[in-house]
């Protein structure tokens, strides 16, 4: 069936594009998600605020094999962080869309 062939081709393309996701960060989408999840209240891309800059985060995770997994866990699961010597709740990203989360993590790691 023609539609079945199209489906196979499309899923093949999708699988291919997924592997090259690292190279195709949607910056605008990542920034929008950071803003709506209130991350930018404590983080900036290049400046130190209450939290480290994303440049600093990228440098910290550089070359680490589990970088994506660790960062994804940090932004999606509640945790505690130390600010001014006191422990505070670290926020989580406000979306259930795993593709958006993946894009965001890649955005941070490539700053």
């Amino acid at each position: 069936m023609k539609s079945k062939q199209i489906a196979i081709v499309l899923s093949g393309l999708l699988a291919f594009s997924a592997t090259t996701a690292m190279a195709q960060v949607d910056e605008a989408d990542a920034m929008k998600l950071l803003d709506s999840s209130k991350c930018l209240k404590c983080h900036s891309v290049d400046k130190k605020k209450d939290g480290p800059s994303y440049k600093e985060v990228a440098a910290k995770y550089k070359g680490k094999a589990d970088a994506v997994a660790k960062l994804t866990k940090h932004v999606t699961e509640p945790s505690k962080v130390k600010v001014d010597g006191e422990e505070e709740d670290h926020g989580t990203v406000k979306t259930r869309d795993q593709e958006k989360v993946k894009n965001l993590v890649n955005f941070i790691l490539t700053r």
Binding site: L40, V45, E86
Partner: protein, 207 residues
């Protein structure tokens, strides 16, 4: 009654005032005084007209960039409907500093004529420099434009989040100025190394 050849001071004064030319002079003085009031009102009205949102966003440089960003923020629309417009944050309220800023603004007119930021690309290239100018004004006045409306002592801690309470207590203790934490809130934060805190440290550093 005293035998004085010259009339007393009051008598002389009263006689002078009763001359026609005196009446005209007095009338002239009052007329000038009221004309001065009208002139002052006109001058002030014109000055305040340059502080309106419509005036500031009359230039496309502002309209298509910072105005669009500001429209998505809390200073534009919020629960209580209290809006801060361009001049609330960028033009001092007291007369002397307001005049100084308006004279400085002639540089902006020149920039408009020369098209310094008349495209999005040119604006983005200059964004960091322009932001640093605004941050410099704020750190050197202890964020006076913020404090025109917001006061640390007027904050009700019980309706603030725990985090906000902690941060504001820290600000009070360490003498931080508003903009050191609250920057990039009405317009997009520019890419660049220096924060308002860095600027403050640099500007207030003892030689």
């Amino acid at each position: 009654m005293s035998e004085s050849s010259k009339p007393g001071l009051f008598a002389r004064g009263w006689r002078a005032l009763r001359q026609p030319r005196a009446a005209l002079s007095l009338l002239g003085m009052f007329a000038l005084f009221f004309a001065g009031i009208i002139f002052w009102g006109g001058f002030n009205t014109a000055m305040e007209a340059t502080n309106t949102l419509e005036f500031c966003t009359g230039c496309h440089e502002m309209q298509s960039t910072v105005f669009q960003e500001y429209k998505t923020t809390i200073h534009y629309a919020n629960r209580t409907g209290v809006r801060a417009i361009c001049s609330d944050c960028h033009v001092p309220k007291d007369w002397v500093h307001k005049m100084a800023r308006k004279i400085q603004a002639s540089g902006e007119v020149y920039g408009k004529i020369m098209g310094v930021i008349d495209t999005k690309e040119k604006f983005e290239a200059k964004r960091y420099e322009l932001a640093k100018r605004a941050w410099t004004r704020m750190v050197t006045t202890d964020s006076i434009e913020c404090r025109n409306c917001h006061h640390l002592d007027s904050m009700s801690p019980e309706v603030q989040t725990e985090k906000a309470q902690r941060r504001h207590a820290k600000a009070k203790k360490e003498g931080l100025t508003c903009v050191e934490c609250h920057f990039g809130i009405a317009h997009k934060e520019p890419a660049g190394d220096e924060t308002p805190s860095d600027l403050k440290r640099r500007l207030m550093a003892k030689p």
